[in-house]
Symmetry: C2
Subunit: 335 residues, 2 copies
DNA sequence: TTGTATGCGTTATCAT
DNA sequence: ATGATAACGCATACAA
């Protein structure tokens, strides 16, 4: 820890024999500086190993060139083997890379984490905030928006919050899935729903309800939380209630995977006895046994679009209050 | 974008009828302020919705209370379905949560990203930097360390760089794996090695070489890059060179998984004909067919320890130049 | 084209 | 216990 005193603009200016202003101009790429002087400044910068102090810079520019991606989840959950969050992160990272902005990832599962996020974002440490995976009616996005901080939600918020969002067409995807089951002759179609405090959970259940009703079929619902464990439990519950069910739509691939294992454990064949369709199209969906038919959601694109919208907003543009991306049924062997 | 002018200390001070200094004291929890005044200040803060400007604060305190986790990888790679990086992130997030510091995640796969990381970290935007997954001999960690910026590497660096690190006991784990194969009567033991520009790849191959030599057995090596695809290709290569091999140690679970599939595709049974052992113990290792025997590395703990070391370093403490965490052979059915 | 001077919002050092 | 006041390092309006 020598903590060598870092050279400042002032030091570079002295070394190059010019004023601070001129050094600043060169460092920031102004074209109005004579070439020989630019050269001298650049040499001084290199010799001293000068690096601008970003805090000082953003204090005066009122910009930080970094944006926050907030995941109001426990880290354990964010990086479970469902690739949803990672994909959103990737999408955001790609767009920010292109814009040469810095990604600040904030995990806010705990109340303390939530507070820290609030301090950090309201403290103007970032130029904008992208939220993902909101549970219930988190007040933070609305609060930030009211403070004039650019905010976009990836995944619509529950409740009636005036924050722009991007989301996927949950209902359309589920409708296609259920219709496929019906077309395949299934008549006792159950669903393993997602958590009902998240839009993704609510919407996919809505889609299921609408679709089975439209087909004149009965509803059979068990609720999980998108994880494998909850999927297995829900599947057992459904079998208890209707041992003769012949189709299952699970609101996540992880739950679908667990459901297939549970079905097999009870001696049922997939898809011969029971057809199973998932939602997400995670990477391993093609490797399950049998390969999983599922609804693909463009989750990477969700992260990208959300980020693009946010960057536009932060740049002062007016953006659409909502963007909805299409989903697509991917046929494999499980249904 | 109303961008309401954010209230400053000055505004709060006027409102509360005190000086800026006093407001600052209250905001920062100084005890030397009379209770009634504290009360008045707090009310003013609440009424105005005052939030400290972090840039201004860190400009004077020279601290940012945030640390960077740098992953010199493409986002696509970081969030592949191997859970190594996510676990490191989780570990770091947990420790920082406890320390009430902010995690800044930086993906630096591209040269541009690498530059951005350098600007950001040398720009004093963070109090310390934790590197993970270094390829080849990245000069950045050493450079930052020389600038007096606290740096720790999660995973030892290739080359002889004087940067403190934490890593797992690769050789010990591999030795246990190969010994288990030998004890099981295997005599033609191959390895699918990891990328040779990373310590994890190099060390695991070293471990394999030492172990088979110690057992008086021949070497059989193919090199992959930890991914499934490379594992399948390497397995085919190995079978071409020795169709009668009876044991495989793969340097990652993903490669082991692909190897098992490839073996089955060629009509071989696992473990009857060929025993397979992986490395990592990712979550899905227990769900492969057959469940994968593998070397567990405490990857979450690696992230945690690295972060703890970094925090100590940033606090001015002297830390051990290296910390090595134990690995453990987990017996399942594939070997 | 270059330099001077000012302010960004804090914290910290002094007095009082 | 509280209040002036001086940094902190930079960008920029204005002057030259």
């Amino acid at each position: 820890m020598t903590t060598a005193q870092r050279p400042t603009l002032e030091a570079v200016a002295r070394r190059a024999g010019v004023s601070r202003a001129t050094v600043s101009r060169v460092v920031n790429g102004s074209t109005t500086v004579a070439e020989p002087i630019q050269e001298a400044v650049r040499r001084a910068v290199a010799e001293l190993g000068y690096v601008p102090n970003l805090a000082a810079r953003s204090l005066v520019t009122q910009r930080t060139d970094s944006i926050a991606l907030v995941l109001p989840e426990e880290a354990t959950r964010v990086f479970s083997d469902d690739q949803v969050f990672p994909s959103i992160i990737r999408g955001a990272a790609q767009e920010l890379e292109a814009a040469d902005k810095q990604l600040v990832l904030m995990l806010a599962g705990s109340p303390a984490g939530h507070d820290r996020v609030e301090r950090y974002t309201t403290g103007r440490h970032v130029d904008g905030v992208l939220f993902a995976s909101l549970h219930g009616a988190d007040p933070l996005p609305g609060r930030l928006a009211r403070l004039g901080i650019p905010v976009v939600c990836s995944g619509r918020m529950l409740g009636d919050v005036p924050v722009p969002y991007v989301d996927v067409d949950h209902v359309g995807g589920v409708t296609a899935a259920v219709r496929h089951l019906v077309d395949g002759g299934r008549r006792r179609i159950a669903t393993i729903a997602g958590p009902q405090d998240m839009v993704a959970g609510v919407e996919r259940l809505n889609g299921y309800r609408q679709a089975v009703q439209a087909a004149g079929l009965p509803e059979l619902v068990a609720v999980g939380d998108f994880t494998r464990e909850s999927g297995a439990a829900a599947m057992r519950q459904l079998l208890d209630r209707d041992p003769d069910l012949d189709g299952v739509f699970a609101a996540s691939d992880l739950m679908a995977h667990a459901a297939m294992r549970t079905l097999r454990a009870t001696g049922r064949r997939v898809p011969d006895d029971v057809a199973v369709i998932g939602f997400d199209d995670i990477e391993t969906a093609a490797y399950t046994d049998p390969p999983l038919t599922t609804v693909r959601q463009p989750i990477l694109e969700l992260g990208r679009r959300g980020t693009r919208q946010l960057l536009r907003l932060a740049a002062g543009e007016t953006i659409e209050p909502s963007v909805v991306l299409p989903t697509e049924l991917v046929l494999r062997d499980s249904a």
